[in-house]
């Protein structure tokens, strides 16, 4: 028989050990189902059941971690003693010991569940297969110039039981589905790709709330066809209006990572910039475990894996750097409060500082006015992957650029790269839209482990370098 773990069993386990040790037990069961189709053929199908206990110990200022996948009383005890022994293995090599963890303001107890419309467990695998297959077929049916298409559905369903000997004892449930479709349009030797999709925290109906799978397919195909007709841009420094997805990507990659306290301790460029102006006063940038302005962002979570409520953290307020992202260890070191950003992806991972939903707060400008007031520039749509460096330099891909001349959109240009120094770019922000959406929910953030995150904002006007893909 499988061994059922509970808060009571974990509490009993942790009380057996030295009270001066900090011990944190996280039992996680995960169901991950995935299906994808490519050119009419099944590309991948997989159902995964993954469960186990991750145990973290802070012993004499050193962290140790261990995990087990087979549950029994003996194995549980072995897991704790292995984590403690691992921590002790650092006692002679670690130069600066962890001085403490910021106490929990209140010990979190209870059960946390996201709002879910259409439980994923209730939707038959057959339906998930069919939706993915139909979308891929629809994309190719759209035009004979769509030579290739790829569709994918993936869902992560988690249940965690977390107990630590600082009094936290709670359970969290999570439900994160995502759907995406990519098309390749060909004409002669020329080919372009375009994609559409969404990732949310929620259920089946939340995922397809804005568009259904066939609409996403048609949108992606239409975008690819449009781009096939479009010309490339030439490299230049230009006024750009970024769409919410691009704003989310910059917020996450170029700013968010710089303000993670672990990175600040390693010498981030913003380490001495608290309370300094690092962006235009029109910019207020937030990282939140909630999903403000628009429900169901993919990085939504109620409590982090250290038992800290995952609320809003105002990172930049009217241009001024106000906070870093903290776990309990860095909060103690900076003499501030933890921000609920300690996250672990699987039971085999320890919690580290991660973003959740990172976005820029909407302003007062209407998108049509922003365009109208732009003499020359580009409306940049559809984030692709991107990177940012320690010095704030970033480089992101965008799917399409709309040329603006004399306050009007005058033509479509092919995908390009947007680059610059994040702080220079944010200082150049002079118009902030009054719209809002999240736009990077199908992506993952990689930092030793992966994490489901989201990002967004309004449309936003700034100056950046547009690089051709020529």
């Amino acid at each position: 028989m499988d061994y059922e773990l509970s808060i009571e069993i974990l509490n009993r386990l942790l009380t057996k050990y030295d009270k001066t040790y900090y011990l944190e037990a996280r039992y996680q069961t995960r169901s991950l189902n995935e299906v994808s189709f490519s050119n009419g053929e099944l590309e991948k199908i997989s159902t995964i059941e993954n469960s186990g206990l991750g145990l973290r110990a802070l012993v004499e200022g050193c962290w140790g971690f261990s995990s087990i996948y087979c549950m029994s009383n003996d194995m549980l005890e072995k897991c704790v003693s292995t984590a403690i022994a691992a921590a002790k293995a650092l006692s002679t090599t670690k130069k600066v010991k962890v001085k403490g963890l910021k106490p929990l303001q209140r010990a979190i107890k209870g059960i946390f569940k996201p709002n879910v419309n259409g439980q994923l467990q209730d939707i038959d695998i057959e339906k998930k297969i069919n939706v993915t297959r139909e979308a891929e077929a629809e994309a190719r049916k759209f035009s004979e110039r769509i030579k290739s298409a790829y569709s994918s559905y993936l869902e992560i369903i988690d249940h965690k039981i977390i107990v630590n000997n600082d009094g936290a004892e709670f359970e969290t449930f999570d439900s994160k589905p995502e759907f995406s479709i990519t098309c390749i349009a060909n004409s002669g030797g020329d080919r372009v790709t375009a994609s559409e999709g969404r990732g949310v925290t929620g259920g089946w109906n939340d995922l397809f709330e804005i568009s259904d799978h066939l609409q996403y397919a048609r949108l992606a195909s239409q975008r690819a066809l449009n781009l096939l007709e479009a010309k490339r841009v030439s490299g230049e420094n230009s006024t750009v209006i970024l769409d919410p997805g691009m704003v989310g990507l910059i917020s996450h990659e170029a700013i968010g990572h710089m303000v993670e306290a672990d990175f600040v301790l390693s010498g981030s460029i913003v380490k001495d910039k608290l309370d300094s102006m690092i962006a235009s006063e029109k910019v207020t940038l937030i990282d939140s475990g909630r999903s403000p302005y628009s429900e169901g962002a993919a990085g939504t979570m109620a409590v982090d894996d250290e038992g800290v409520l995952a609320g809003d953290v105002v990172l930049i307020e009217n241009g001024k750097l106000k906070s870093f992202l903290h776990n309990r260890e860095t909060a103690f070191l900076f003499d501030t409060e933890p921000t609920g950003n300690a996250r672990a992806f699987e039971y085999t991972d320890e919690p580290i500082i991660r973003m959740r939903n990172t976005f820029i707060k909407p302003g007062n400008d209407k998108l049509e006015d922003i365009i109208k007031e732009t003499k020359y520039g580009y409306l940049v749509k559809g984030p692709r992957n991107g990177q940012a460096d320690a010095n704030g330099e970033f480089m992101f891909g965008a799917q399409e650029l709309h040329l603006i001349q004399g306050g009007e959109i005058t033509g479509l240009k092919r995908g390009a790269t947007i680059s610059g120094n994040a702080f220079d770019v944010l200082k150049s922000v002079d118009m902030v839209g009054n719209d809002f959406s999240y736009g990077i929910g199908t992506g993952y953030c990689g930092k030793f482990q992966i994490a489901k995150v989201d990002g967004g904002g309004p449309h936003l006007r700034c100056i950046a370098t547009v690089g051709s893909l020529e």
């Binding site: 499988d2 490519s38 159902t47 650092l90 010095n391 051709s468």
Partner: protein, 447 residues
């Protein structure tokens, strides 16, 4: 000799057949791992754990089902078989859904197991991680190590299928990485990352990685902007990995060819590069961390000649894609137990050239040496665009000064035909062995 993992796999296959699978395969793995993580110039955490899992792939009348569970109990395997059968009942029929047959060739894999590595402790990891840190920091106080790790693992994997394929192998590995920058007052250099690995304890050399990090980050301090120009670029092995590797591995992948997303489609026997480029896939190279004696489906690994002096020789296949092209698998079924096999290169080896790096630099009139490339590469059409990282400006055959905020854009396939030099020196990565490569006619976008 039948191991416990073999028995678990056999049980899963028999259960699947008993429940109606026409073919079944089980791939199971256990991995005992110790790791010490570096963060902010110090060791941060020690980890010691054993993970495991079993992937069950079944065909019911050529319909695919797949499930994975990380627990190896009978109950968990039985549930996994039922899940896989349910998936198969809803998935489309595909006549190429077959499992490999037993291979007559006896597997003679490389030696990837070291008893000394099995007795390596988490304490030993801690000492090794500290030594790497010290090597980086002791060169110059301005070097700041953001993160890194030292890992020791002992992996045991087994594959079993209903056609009689049954293999087991034990592999020990060490892997280490270090990422950091140089900080001088308000100036922060570009990131650099160094990583290396080996199977034998005697080959662990962490100091070299720490020293290389220090050298690369320090020499990129004081970077200046340059004006836009057209010239030659010399990619470091890391930059080759970032800029060329994925596009090449995508283009030689039979799956991409069959899906018409490979630019090398229809080009077997044709020139895809200058004659300076020769590439093999060599999973039997014991120096490679990716080495193993059989692939994800149990097909024995061997050396595959992919590009010979610029001429494309073959694509890489697993059993499924080989069936479609009426060929044999090249032993390139890849992936872990938690997903069905895909096609991938295992250890992409670019043959060394005849010049050393200094000679390659000395022959450049005007150009840039890239330590890293940060940007986007589209592996389908080869278009790339990104930023030069840790770059150095070359004029008249000599390195002048480090550069910043220089963008490059172009096409990987054009770059291969403009390839003018391959260095003798090479660096091993976990999935490749790569030299420095020189490419002409690149547009550098500066100020």
């Amino acid at each position: 000799m039948t191991t416990m993992l073999d028995a678990i796999c056999e049980f899963a296959v028999k259960e699947a057949e008993r429940n109606g699978a026409t073919e079944a395969e089980a791939y199971a793995m256990t991995n005992r791992e110790s790791e010490v993580v570096i963060e902010n110039n110090d060791v941060k955490q020690a980890k010691s754990q054993t993970t495991g899992g079993i992937g069950i792939r079944i065909f019911v009348n050529r319909r695919l089902g797949f499930s994975y569970a990380n627990t190896l109990t009978k109950e968990s395997i039985q549930r996994g078989v039922i899940r896989a059968l349910k998936v198969a009942s809803a998935s489309p029929e595909d006549k190429f859904n077959v499992l490999p047959l037993t291979h007559l060739k006896k597997i003679r894999g490389p030696k990837l197991f070291d008893e000394n590595a099995v007795s390596f402790t988490v304490m030993d990891c801690s000492v090794a991680a500290s030594e790497m840190l010290r090597a980086a920091k002791s060169i110059d106080g301005r070097v700041s190590v953001d993160s890194g790790n030292f890992t020791n693992s002992f992996l045991n994997h087994s594959i079993y299928n209903s056609n009689g394929v049954c293999h087991n192998e034990m592999i020990t590995s060490f892997f280490w990485s270090i990422l950091g920058m140089a900080v001088d007052g308000n100036e922060v250099s570009s990131f650099d990352i160094q990583s290396d690995g080996c199977h034998m304890l005697a080959d662990v050399k962490v100091s070299a990685s720490g020293e290389a990090l220090a050298e690369n980050t320090l020499k990129s301090l004081g970077a200046k902007k340059v004006e836009s120009f057209r010239g030659e670029m010399i990619l470091s092995p890391s930059a080759v990995s970032e800029l060329l590797h994925d596009t090449i591995t995508h283009s030689i992948n039979s799956d991409a060819v069959q899906k018409k997303t490979s630019a090398f489609q229809g080009k077997i026997g044709q020139s895809v590069s200058t004659h300076l480029l020769t590439i093999e896939d060599d999973p039997t190279d014991a120096k490679s961390l990716a080495a193993a004696s059989f692939d994800r489906e149990g097909v024995p690994h061997g050396l595959t000649n992919i590009i010979d002096q610029g001429i494309l020789k073959t694509f890489l296949y697993n059993t499924y894609t080989a069936g479609k092209d009426k060929l044999d698998s090249t032993g390139n079924a890849a992936g872990g137990p938690n997903s069905p096999p895909v096609v991938s290169s295992t250890n992409l080896v670019v043959s060394p050239g005849s010049s050393d790096l200094d000679t390659l630099i000395s022959e450049v009139d005007r150009g840039i040496v890239l330590n890293r490339f940060s940007g986007n590469v589209n592996p389908i059409n080869g278009e790339f665009s990104g930023v030069v990282k840790g770059g150095h400006y070359i004029v008249n055959g000599e390195i002048n000064f480090p550069v910043r905020e220089v963008m490059i854009a172009g096409n990987v396939f054009d770059a291969l035909t403009n390839l003018t030099g391959v260095s003798r020196e090479r660096k091993s990565f976990s999935d490749s062995v790569l030299p420095h490569i020189r490419i002409e006619n690149i547009a550098f976008i500066g100020q």
